[in-house]
């Protein structure tokens, strides 16, 4: 387990380095100067660039950026002078994290239950109904779900608030629209693996031991069937991040996603870079944790990974 952890952490750090490098050079390659907005004179431009260190050679800038990054310094926003990128993140992060965490918990619970239900029921209607719902869930883009939910519950029925994040009821629509897609994916995954594991020989042995079906399902089948689902949590985290772009802009929530979309619209390069790196780190970290968790649950993973 120790060796496996080392290898995975090493891969994680390497990915991080690649991400930082790629993101840095890509933002430097973007066309136009960040300060070129209409009627700025040449001399102001040069002095601005000097102030931000943009007149130095690219590799020197990169080295400076990296060393600042080591100290947790992501630089200063180009467009909002004096605002540090890390401040933006600490301000916007809690809302996004809360939405994301709620959504993934909701998706995992609903997905697992529906998946098991679909795999173990004999009623064709239930099977078909759940199957059709997962098809819908994976077929409708999250921004469409967000818009439709808002249109129906917010605008037509006026049941739920459609903007801001002030009270508990404000969370319902964003969390649901975030959770639909991962819930559908988890349902499908769970059904597939559960059905597969149900037909394994060890289930026959468990039955031959005299264990009840419920006990077999919980202690034997679920233990194996959960591993692929757990593996999906990493990609799901990446998905929630993209989802937060949409959901936050649709429901006007002051989160990380909205900051990111705004920074793109403003071409605020340091902010784009900083947010990209922050989100990349988060996803890489979650990926790493779920990988380690899977290896801990399933000894075969550790053995197969060289």
């Amino acid at each position: 387990m120790f060796g496996y952890t080392c290898k995975r952490v090493f891969i994680g750090i390497l990915s991080l380095f690649v991400l930082v490098t790629a993101a840095f050079f890509l933002t430097r390659m973007m066309p136009g100067s960040p300060f070129q907005t209409g009627n700025v004179s040449e001399s102001v431009l040069t002095s601005m660039e000097e102030e931000y260190g943009l007149n130095e050679p690219v590799f020197k800038q990169y080295a400076t950026y990296l060393s600042n990054l080591m100290h947790g310094d992501l630089g200063i926003s180009f467009k909002k002078p004096g605002v540090r990128v890390s401040e933006v993140i600490t301000r916007a992060w809690p809302a996004t994290a809360a939405l994301g965490a709620l959504a993934i918990v909701l998706a995992a619970v609903v997905g697992t239950l529906l998946g098991i239900w679909q795999a173990s029921t004999k009623k064709r209607l239930v099977k078909g109904g759940i199957f059709f719902s997962t098809m819908l869930g994976t077929g409708i883009p999250n921004f469409v779900i967000a818009l439709l939910l808002m249109l129906f519950f917010g605008v037509k029925l006026k049941l739920l608030p459609i903007a801001g994040l002030t009270g508990a009821e404000n969370y319902i629509l964003p969390v649901v629209s975030l959770a639909v897609y991962p819930a559908a994916v988890i349902t499908r995954l769970m059904r597939n693996t559960f059905q597969e594991e149900m037909n394994r020989d060890y289930v026959v042995l468990a039955k031959a031991k005299g264990l009840s079906w419920r006990r077999t399902a919980v202690t034997h089948i679920l233990k194996n069937a959960w591993i692929p689902v757990l593996n999906y949590i990493g990609p799901a985290a990446a998905f929630l991040m993209t989802g937060s772009f949409v959901v936050e802009s649709v429901f006007t929530i002051p989160g990380l996603g909205r900051e990111f979309v705004n920074s793109i619209e403003n071409r605020d390069y340091t902010l784009i870079l900083g947010l990209t790196i922050f989100m990349g780190v988060t996803v890489i970290g979650i990926n790493l944790l779920t990988d380690l968790l899977c290896a801990w649950l399933d000894p075969r993973v550790r053995r197969a990974y060289r």
Partner: protein, 609 residues
Amino acid sequence: MSLLRVEDLSVQFHDKDRRQEAVSHLSFEVCPGEIVGIVGESGSGKSTGMHAVLGLLPEKAEVACERILLDQREITPPDLKLADRKAVKAYERTMEAVRGNEIAMVFQDPLTYLNPTVKIGRQITETIRAHKKCSQKEALEHAEELLDLVGIRKASQRMRQYPFELSGGMRQRVVIAIALACEPKLLIADEPTTALDVTVQGQILELFKKISQEMGTAILFVSHDLGVIASLCRRVLVMQAGKLVEEGTVEDIFYEPRHPYTRKLLAQASKLQKLPENVKAGEPLLRIEHVSKFYTDIGYWKKQEKTEAVLDVSLQIGRGETYGLVGESGCGKSTLAKMVTGLLKPTAGRIVYEGEKKRLKYPIQMVFQDPYASLNPRMTIGDILEEPLLLNTEDSKEERLRKIEELLKLVGLTLEDAQKYPRAFSGGQRQRIGIARALILEPELLICDEPVSALDVSIQEQILSLLENIQKERGISYLFISHDLNVVKRISRKMGVMYAGSLVETGSTKEIYSDPWHPYTKALLSAVLVPDPWKARRKKGVLHTEEKKVEVPLGRGCPFAPRCGYAMACCFTGRPDWYQFEGRKIACFLYSEEHAGRRSGSMKMTSQI
């Protein structure tokens, strides 16, 4: 009074629009403490019937039964079509109390039947706790006792391990321990030794005998192997195509069989018992000289590990001869075969091939073990047979077709079969196609790597005689590899015995079988079960605790020394040389000059064990 009484049990499988009767009108009973054998070929419904008794069949199976009584209590499965949900639930509830507690079951493949992600200890204790009220600690103590009982050493350490960390024999012992957890009255064993090596099989059978004697458990033993049945059971049921065709004491069945099917089975089995005649070998065709193969595992932090698969093997195969190579799983015989064909490169030593077809990239062809994996399911038989011709010869289309037809005819198929895909054929037919493919480039040496071990006994015989006929017709040589001593005895005139990557004894088949010299050969031969209950009973088995995983030691010592009853001090410190006596070669210190004494030219060596 009977312990288990089954009356008129039938099982049908629904497969979309096909209906298949797996078991029809099966009735039998088992008395307390007796060992009953059920024998039949694959597909005879023997294990389906046993699963049905415990209600373990999947839902697509339709079980109809007059009555099943356990100790006068009714455990008849309800008819799913007629019964209401309540009856089904009530049946399930009774069975939960019966399974594992009163009737326990042991299965064929211990690897797939153990949950790969649950530790051994948990898998045993949960059985105990499902039926008895006790704390986890008591259950753990009991589990340790059970592992001790089935002959696993260091029980407390084993309990913390996962199934894949144990060897096949140990896993089967664990499954047996699970079955014994609640001291059941009846143990149903479904081919429990089929997936194991012969020597391990012997141990597991001894364990069953011990359980029957010490615990008074009745055992219902399902097997296709008449030898196993003869050595263990008192009463035998013979099944064919889902029906019970004959029932009687083991003596009746083996010495006075009445039903023609039983007679056929016995005749096939005894055909394998005859010893072959010695023949003169032709000039050498293949020489293997001091060949070794090491595998290196790659890993990026740790030092690269070396494991040996084959160590210093030398042998010779003459023209027109069949050389049998025997050894248990993992002894390196398949690696050796791949090196001979050239699929693998030996790490040391050399292989000299004297055949005329040396210009081909792979002049030596091979017949594989698994007839289902050896044919590409996405190619027609014609394509499969044509491929070697396309890649190695300049034959025209007509020429290729002619050769394909000729070979298909040789192995007993027709040209029409060339259009079909492999799935249209049975296992035996596929193996024939595999033989045709191996022969199409007209090799002078054919390697047969366990070509019959996946087939039923009656099909085995067909394939073996086909191979013999081809040899007569074309004069080719075989290197015939098998773990099955009976099969090697049936087909080869000369043979070698491999253990842990080394060859330990070579010589004529007849001499080795009638008088084994190497302790390992002797152990191997004595583990072979003969389909003769009297002979089998005379054989005294010793139950060892736990077989070791066959580990190939690096360099020093005789590999068999840790398991050998005759081991001396020198066996652990140095590798034995080859000692040659006429046609026989042996690698064992018992035959060294120091041990057997200085020999004069005229002295005749005899077995030292």
